[in-house]
Amino acid sequence: MSEQNNPRRAFIAAAGAGVAGLGFTAIAPGLHLMAVAQAADATTNSPAARKAGEAASSAVRWGLLVDATKCAPGCTKCVEACHTENGITEKMPDARQNSQWIRKIELVDRRNGRKTELPMMCQHCANPPCVDVCPTGASMKRADGIVLVDRHSCIGCRYCMMACPYKARSFVHAPLTEQNPEVPRGKGCVESCTLCAHRVDKGQNPACVEKCPEGAMIFGDLMDPNSAISKRIASVPTTQVRSDLRLDVGVRYQGI
């Protein structure tokens, strides 16, 4: 029996090729994601972009300023942008079970009937009740002030939803499909506005800010006195929603 037609050798060779193929199949998505990430880094030359592996810095505190006087009645562009960016596509039979990371609220002043509209989302508190109550530490605040849920350690107890004074959190009530790879979500976990952390880390604005046709939202570093957001907050009266709770929120409102 020659070496060429030894069936055992042929089997081992084929199995080896198969294992190598499987191995490549297993690591290929990772390699692809790395290439995507590198390409994305290359497209954003913003100095604020954070390199992969570099920790978020406590020298910045990301925040939002919403000018409610500019927020157009009936406009939901920010909500749509958020849903597209974060892959929030599910529609439950009971609408109260749908996730909403950002929503438009219509306010009517009971004294004079004055109407105001504004987008409401996680307020990214400096003292977040959701982080205090989370039994596993899945609810956490990044060094740069962004409040997030670690999807790997959230057990879905919903205590954070009981604790949030802004109704900012949603619970994923059913299996999900068509997710954005940069924004992993999952059935049985709690989630909320991430301030588009994946975009912010690339030096981009959150999707809602970018898509607002009225320019009603400013995103920036609250600790930098020269940032646009800090300058505006220093020059006009702004409001922290439920300021009585002393949560020191990262999202401020103008004109309410």
Binding site: M92, Q97, L107, G137, K187, R242
Partner: protein
């Protein structure tokens, strides 16, 4: 003992009861699996009412599990003899109900499969985090306590073990009440009063469960509870029910006094689906009627005291439903002074209808407790042994 069940019948009834308990437990576990697979979309819970009927069952079982140990504490810690003979049974009921309650609360988690994460990641600022230590600790302490009582050589240690269990369960129920007491977001909660209130609730509910189980065991064995024991226990039950009602009144009056809470109190007490439940279910049927049954002449008969205890248990479920569901149904006051509306139902009162799977999950918790109690009282010696004649002579029982 002519009225007692023959041993053959007794064995038959035991297997029937154990089978019923096992079946209810199996159906509950099946429901949990279904919820785990499909997601909470198959429940009535949503993003406004995030805790539902499973939490009503779980919190009842956990609170009553703490309170039922009161019987043991009165015996071991405070030296009352008639309670001492009931201490092992009280420990068994405590462990069984705690197991049932914890099973429900864990199986309701969105990611019940990550229970190991809850056990290995600890956030010291979370009341739930404390409970991850308090609940398993309760199992261990009560198990040791029962051991010291039932193993003759360990009897000398039963008093310190009982004292440890007494302290631990006060902490445990403080922890359960504090789950709500530490919430600033919703008008219904966020009151330090809730911690002591949960403790007194636990006394009433736990004793009510004890009275019912004890009545069933005496019936099973064709025995009659000594009148003096009945007298003591029903008076104590009445006192705890009255104290719970007092705390309820103080909680609502305090809230009604604060302008920022008035709208919620009006909603809960007079203008919602929860109002009738509160007044008729919790106050009338769950508190006043039992007190009348206990303290009128009907209270001399075991049957009526048992009925009173059953009504207290019914009232407890109604109270928790009103407290947990009613507290979440009222919209968050994010913008005081404004009428608000949104696609996320801001400003709207929510309505909750429990679905079958979540009800079955809750009943599964009762099934676990029931099965554990049935097997426990059958295979071990938990039947209270009273020597009333001797006690009366010694003057240990006084009214």
């Amino acid at each position: 003992m002519s009225s007692s069940l023959t041993s053959r019948n007794e064995a038959g009834i035991f297997y029937v009861l154990a089978a019923i308990g096992g079946l209810v437990t199996a159906v509950g576990l099946g429901s949990a699996l279904y919820m785990e697979h499909a997601g909470h979309v198959v429940t009535g819970m949503n993003n406004q009412i995030v805790w539902g009927i499973p939490h009503v069952f779980a919190i009842f079982l956990i609170v009553a599990a703490s309170g039922v140990l009161n019987v043991a504490s009165i015996g071991s810690v405070f030296g009352r003899v008639i309670y001492k003979s009931r201490a092992p049974l009280s420990g068994l009921l405590s462990i069984a109900m705690l197991a049932g309650g914890l099973a429900v609360i864990m199986l309701d988690l969105g990611r019940a499969d990550r229970i190991i994460v809850a056990a290995t990641h600890f956030n010291p600022t979370s009341v739930f985090g404390w409970n991850v230590i308090l609940y398993p600790g309760m199992f261990a302490i009560v198990a040791v306590y029962i051991w010291t009582m039932m193993e003759r050589r360990m009897n000398a240690y039963s008093k310190p073990a009982g004292f440890a269990a007494f302290i631990w369960r006060i902490l445990l129920t403080t922890g359960t009440g504090s789950i709500f007491a530490f919430l600033v977001a919703r008008q219904a909660y966020g009151s330090a009063l809730l911690a002591p209130m949960f403790i007194i609730m636990s006394f009433a509910w736990g004793l009510a469960v004890f009275v019912v189980v004890q009545a069933a065991m005496y019936f099973w064995n064709g025995m009659r509870l000594p009148p003096l024991v009945l007298q003591r226990m029903k008076n104590l039950l009445g006192l705890f029910v009255a104290a719970t009602l007092y705390f309820t009144a103080v909680l609502h009056l305090t809230n009604a006094y604060f302008a920022k809470q008035t709208a919620f109190e009006y909603f809960l007490l007079f203008d919602s689906e929860f109002s009738a439940l509160f007044w008729v279910g919790q106050v009338l049927i769950g508190s006043i009627v039992p007190m009348i049954l206990i303290w009128s002449t009907t209270g001399q008969r075991m049957t009526w005291v048992t009925v009173a205890a059953l009504l207290v248990i019914f009232g407890a479920f109604v109270q928790l439903y009103v407290f947990i569901i009613g507290g979440q149904a009222f919209p968050l006051d994010i913008f005081p002074g404004y009428d608000v509306k949104s696609s996320f139902f801001d400003g709207q009162v929510d309505h909750y209808t429990a679905s079958l799977p979540e009800i079955l999950l809750g009943l599964g918790g009762i099934g676990i407790a029931f099965t554990a109690i049935t097997i426990g009282v059958r295979v071990l010696r938990f039947m209270p042994q009273d020597d009333v004649q001797h006690l009366e002579t010694a003057g240990a029982i006084t009214d």
